[in-house]
């Protein structure tokens, strides 16, 4: 699927588009902001903006990964991306404790391509 970027993401140069296309070349590819940031040499904020555009075009299915301080290395849950932070109290999927403050939580975004995407 071709995605015409035009002026939507002003920082996207031709080189960045090619780099991004390599990450999106097949359905089922999983991308995360820090991976995009490292591979393309851009900021996490710019990576998030790319994911938001892909999500708005329904080219990826993305979710907000929720990490709890009981085990910060493994996501304890996930909700769809773009719906705000999880409602509290939130029950941790790992320790099953009810959490009523965001201070105990960390977040990340993960997107999975639904089709092969070519940014132009």
């Amino acid at each position: 699927m071709r995605l015409v970027i035009g002026h939507r993401l002003a920082f996207m140069t031709e080189i960045l588009k090619r780099g991004m296309n390599a990450l999106l070349r097949a359905p089922g590819e999983e991308i995360m902001p820090h991976v995009i940031a490292i591979k393309l040499g851009i900021s996490r904020a710019e990576s998030l903006a790319i994911i938001a555009v892909l999500e708005a075009e329904e080219l990826v299915e993305s979710k907000l990964l929720i990490y709890h301080e009981c085990e910060l290395g493994v996501p304890a849950g996930a909700i769809p991306f773009g719906k705000g932070f999880p409602q509290l109290p939130w029950t941790c999927g790992l320790c099953e404790r009810s959490v009523d403050t965001y201070d105990e939580l960390r977040f990340d975004v993960q997107a999975r391509t639904l089709v092969a995407v070519e940014m132009v």
């Binding site: 002026h7 939507r8 993401l9 002003a10 920082f11 902001p33 900021s43 996490r44 904020a45 710019e46 990576s47 998030l48 903006a49 938001a52 555009v53 999500e55 708005a56 991306f81 773009g82 719906k83 705000g84 932070f85 999880p86 409602q87 509290l88 009523d100 965001y102």
Partner: protein, 244 residues
Amino acid sequence: MRQMIAGMKQLDVSDPASDHLASYLYTADSRMAGLITELDDLMAEPRNDTMRKRAGEIMEMIAMLSFMALSGTSTIKSFQSAGPQIDLLVEGSDLHWKLVRKYCYFRKRRRGLVVEAKATGEKVNDAVFARLCAIMDHNLPHVGLGVFFTFNGASGFPTPESSRSLRTLKDCRLRQALYYARTRKPVIVFDSMDIRQLAQNGSLPQLVHEKVKEISEATGWATPPVASFCKRHTLPKHLRDLLI
């Protein structure tokens, strides 16, 4: 959170992608759900003076909690000025507020917004709507947005129950359009359906964004629930069929 906001800065507000990141500008206060239930209960039955007063207070509490939870808000005031009573005057100053302002279509150099809470059983009428417009013109020239918190909406606005789009401009809806055309300052109306959604994270900026857009678009439909913004189809059948 900071990353989401910084990501939003990369996008134009008219880009649908900014809706996804704007949802992180609002994390509802945990007290909101209880207040909304209490307001619903109070408005459901015939009320005496004490109940009317309590409903008014709760409406103001809901308005204040919702704007306190909006990212970038720095000051909230409520006061009896030398002139009119100001229910809530909300201002912000940092980058988050700048994005809120941009996403909600405030004009540049308009820093704040003013809220008028009306917990009555009737719709807000044109005189009340005109009063807020006049306050924005004469007392608060630095505000860029007016917001009514109501239970039953305002006269002339489409209702969620209506099965057809409202194709006439009259009463408050007419004044809203004329005032926006003259000053570029939107005045929007939250009804009970909108207020019930304020307990949901992400809802407030998206509701304001949709309501301000509606002033110009004038689709004649009530604001849909936030969860179905993307799935809303105002298309006629022959075009809607193409989506299947």
